[in-house]
């Protein structure tokens, strides 16, 4: 339990620092602080948010910004499909669960996956999702109001901490051979397709690896 809370808060703090960057960049791109906050509360998926404001900042068409944010958001839908049976949200929990479905909450959730017991997975998902939501939005507000207390997140090595945290969360899953083979193929697909495809697509291309390996062995189902 302590480990779930440590993970949730660590990831929350790290994403909060990026929230400050997002707030500052959004205002720099011409959005108001209120619009920056609306992004972080309503969209709540970092990659989509950064891409949308970058396109606007570069003078791109609004339609391009919208479509790119959707493209980068597709992986959240795939996480949702993957988690839906184990989270099984009902009633008011459904819209909340949907909003909290992002890279970080999914990674922590699957890190605590246990056969025949979905409680640790659920606790990890919600605690991480809520921690990231709080820190991300407070960070966005701070950054949008012009208080850039932390400077560039990469000065603190947070651009290395983000992939390191995801790797650490994936680690326990990689003890399984099929999972390890899937991860290696996914990495290969990402490396090959990154120079060829627009941002967001290489991650989606790697989903095909899961589909291929998962469906390959014919059995019941």
């Amino acid at each position: 339990m302590a480990s779930i809370n440590t993970q949730a808060v660590t990831i929350g703090v790290a994403t909060g620092a990026y929230g400050i960057s997002f707030g500052a960049l959004a205002v720099g791109a011409g959005f108001s602080w209120f619009q920056a906050m609306t992004f972080s509360i309503l969209m709540f998926t970092g990659a989509s948010q950064f891409a949308a404001i970058a396109i606007v900042a570069a003078g791109g068409a609004p339609v391009a910004a919208v479509l790119t944010s959707w493209l980068l958001g597709i992986r959240n839908g795939l996480y949702a499909v993957s988690l839906s049976q184990r989270l099984n949200p009902k009633g008011w929990l459904l819209p909340v669960t949907a909003q909290l479905t992002i890279d970080e909450s999914t990674a922590t959730a699957i890190s605590h996956e246990e056969p025949d017991n979905s409680r640790p997975l659920q606790q990890a998902f919600y605690r991480t999702g809520i921690a990231v939501f709080l820190f991300w939005n407070v960070g966005t507000l701070v950054g949008a109001l012009g208080v850039n207390a932390v400077g560039d997140p990469s000065d603190w090595g947070l651009d290395a901490a983000a992939p390191a945290a995801l790797l650490a969360l994936l680690w326990p899953r990689l003890s399984d051979r099929t999972a390890r083979v899937t991860a290696l193929w996914a990495v290969a697909v990402a490396l090959v397709t990154t120079p060829l495809l627009p941002p967001g697509m290489p991650v989606l291309a790697s989903a095909l690896v899961a589909l291929f390996i998962g469906l390959r062995r014919p059995s019941c189902g």
Binding site: P89, I110, L158, A165, L184, A207, A210, G221
Partner: protein
């Protein structure tokens, strides 16, 4: 500006919601379960690589790779989560401080 904020956000939210309203019957069965288990592993593995290596124009080898490499070594040594993450950040930050 509001168009980007509102339409972009609604789309991103609906994509998340859609994943949960897929009928459970469609997801039943062993092969579907296996795909669902492997799906986030594939997505997050490629995300780790992209976050570690991507630059504004093509792949970029920098302090991030050193940080993630240190994290991987610590994971092999069974270090706790917080130690792994802080060591990755510290490695990248110190490397930038020293090399500039």
């Amino acid at each position: 500006m509001w168009l980007v904020v509102v339409v972009g956000s609604l789309g991103c939210y609906l994509i998340k919601l859609l994943g949960y309203v897929v009928p459970q019957d469609w997801l039943a069965g062993e092969r579907c379960n296996r795909v669902n288990t492997l799906l986030p592993i594939a997505l997050l593995s490629s995300l780790v690589v992209i976050l570690t290596l991507s630059g504004s124009s093509g792949p970029l080898l920098d302090a991030r790779l050193a940080g993630v490499a240190v994290a991987a070594v610590l994971l092999v040594l069974r270090a706790p989560f917080l130690v792994v993450v802080v060591a990755a950040a510290a490695t990248a930050a110190l490397l930038r401080l020293v090399v500039g």
